[in-house]
């Protein structure tokens, strides 16, 4: 009997390994080896014309941390996240609460709010760049202003953040709606009987019971915002005077690794980015224990 069982277990194990083999092999070749290789390359100087890498120790890191451009880009990325995440989350939450109220026409609103999610960011950024155009753009001509939305270093980062918020509202909203539908209706009925107003219900029932969803959204959006690239790349030309004050760290990485062909230095920048994101993730995990309410 025992022998039979172990034969069955062996058989099961063989099937399982066959099933996971393609995925595991792929992950090792496509992800784990590249991650290690990137870290190795960050300690190398890229040889010209594919002449291979020369190990130079921490030289790249000294250079990266010594360059004001690196610090600028990290700060720019944080500034972008500080606009996209809070506004994207709060606006989406409000819309989700409204759309969960079973008003007429909710499905049409939901379709509209989600629309930017299915559009290529390249196209979205092109349109916004045109809206922001200082001379011919819709915004300046409707409001009769002459604001340099994307080339004034003082406001360009806000303008880009607005595009980010616009793009991400629908995604956050859909996740909020599915979170809201899991809150039992009795809570609200009880609150209604006690005479609690809508706003009090929102802060005392919705917000705490929704906190796991909110945390999940904030976490994915923070990581998404810290790796922003497409919008910046499409909106900010190489010649834009506000580039220094808006370019994200991934943008800087792209410029070094692929426009200038300096893979070693590019790898250094991306390792710094990943280390930074890991740090932020750990901090958020700590915060989760404190603020998130799991019933």
């Amino acid at each position: 009997m025992k022998k039979q069982l172990s034969a069955a277990a062996k058989n099961e194990s063989r099937w399982a390994w066959a099933f996971i083999a393609p995925t595991m092999l792929g992950l090792i070749v496509l992800n784990f080896y590249p991650a290690i290789n990137t870290v190795y390359q960050s300690f190398c100087k890229t040889g010209d014309f594919g002449r291979g890498n020369v190990f130079i120790g921490v030289q790249n890191y000294i250079e990266a941390f010594g360059a004001s451009e690196t610090w600028h880009s990290i700060w720019n990325t944080i500034k972008y996240a500080l606009i996209e995440v809070p506004f994207g989350v709060c606006i989406a939450l409000i819309l989700a609460v409204f759309l969960n109220k079973k008003l007429k026409g909710t499905s049409a609103f939901r379709t509209i709010f989600f629309l930017p999610m299915v559009c290529a960011p390249a196209a979205v950024a092109m349109v916004w760049k045109w809206l922001y155009n200082q001379q011919f753009g819709l915004l300046n001509n409707i409001f009769h202003t002459k604001i340099a939305w994307i080339s004034d270093p003082k406001i360009a980062w806000i303008s880009i953040g607005v595009i980010g918020v616009w793009s991400v509202i629908g995604y956050n909203m859909v996740l909020f709606i599915s979170g809201l539908q899991e809150i039992p209706g009795d809570y609200y009925e009880a609150a209604e009987i006690d005479g609690a107003t809508g706003i009090r219900q929102f802060f005392h029932i919705t917000v705490p019971l929704l906190s796991p969803t909110t945390f999940f959204i904030v976490q994915t959006r923070v990581i998404g915002a810290l790796t922003v690239f497409d919008l910046m790349f499409m909106v900010m030309d190489k010649t834009n005077v506000a580039l220094q004050n808006t370019q994200s760290i991934v943008y800087l990485f792209y410029t070094y690794a692929f426009t200038n062909g300096d893979k070693g230095y590019g790898a250094t920048l991306v390792v710094i980015l990943v280390a930074f994101i890991m740090l932020v993730t750990v901090i958020m995990q700590r915060a989760e224990k404190k603020f998130v309410f799991y019933s």
Binding site: E12, M24, A123, M126, V174, V270
Partner: protein
């Protein structure tokens, strides 16, 4: 009681007002994209007077012009092929691995699955340089295979499908096992068809991700005739940035297929994103 009813009505009006304003803001870029696309360039860059609507008729032929001069048919083809192969590869590998992780017992399961979870936590930018070098060494730059390459397997999809398989009732498989089905048959005939909704979610997610991706196609497909819609737009902006109707017409052409698909399969899209919750 009368008070409560008026209060409810006022609340409703406020809510509708906010929803309508937000919907308007969300739609302005789309409307402006189309309105610019059908103008002449003179109308588009006229400031005083400033034109909201085209003055000399709606120039729908701008779309036909852009379609021909920028070889949109090739961009569509490349994008479609990339999406197709990525979806097929991702669904195939993820459903197999997901089944093994969700329903089978084997040595090393914990370690292997933790590798899957670790991959999900690492930002994908760290993979790009070596992935590019591999594609370049294999001579796959400027090919569809090069575009598909990083998306052959998916840790996120594996995780999603594992959750799907775990949610299925146990007795189904036991019955099949008594009937003499081996594990492969059980998987293929009984379990896999039951995870259809997870597969659809993964398919939609993969397709959207591939469609929206900009950096990878820009890196591996630098030639205009081999690239995707996203990267093609970036190229066009670099070359013809001041011809606004042309730019907006190409932006419309680039996003319209996905919008049409979204409107038809709206339910699946929204549910797919809501249940998978992947980072797009």
């Amino acid at each position: 009681m009368e008070n409560v009813r008026t209060r409810d009505r006022v609340n409703k009006i406020i809510m509708y007002a906010i929803l309508v304003i937000m919907a308007f803001i969300m739609l302005v870029p789309f409307v402006w994209m189309i309105l610019t696309a059908v103008k002449t360039n003179q109308e588009a860059i006229s400031v005083s007077p400033f034109y909201i609507f085209p003055q000399s008729g709606w120039h729908w032929e701008n779309f036909a012009k852009v379609w021909q001069s920028y070889n949109f048919i090739i961009l569509y083809k490349n994008t479609l092929l990339m999406i197709f192969f990525r979806v097929v590869c991702a669904c195939l590998t993820a459903t197999m691995a997901g089944y093994a992780f969700g329903r089978l017992n084997f040595r090393g399961k914990k370690v292997m699955f933790s590798l899957v979870l670790i991959q999900m936590m690492i930002p994908s930018q760290i993979f790009i340089i070596p992935q590019y070098l591999m594609v370049s060494k294999m001579g796959l730059l400027n090919t569809v295979s090069g575009l598909v390459f990083p998306g052959i397997v998916t840790a996120f999809g594996t995780y999603l499908l594992k959750t799907g398989y775990q949610g299925l009732p146990k007795d189904l498989e036991e019955a099949a096992s008594i009937d003499g089905c081996n594990i492969g048959q059980r998987f293929l005939r009984i379990m896999m068809p039951l995870t259809r909704s997870s597969m659809v979610s993964l398919g939609i997610f993969t397709a959207l991700f591939a469609f929206k991706d900009l950096m990878w196609p820009m890196i591996v497909c630098t030639r205009a005739e081999t690239t995707t819609l996203s990267a093609g737009l970036a190229k066009m902006q670099g070359q013809y940035g001041s011809d606004y109707p042309t730019m907006m017409a190409s932006a419309v052409l680039a996003i319209i297929p996905m919008i049409v698909i979204y409107i038809i399969f709206q339910k699946q899209f929204v549910e797919g994103i809501a249940t998978s919750g992947g980072k797009l």
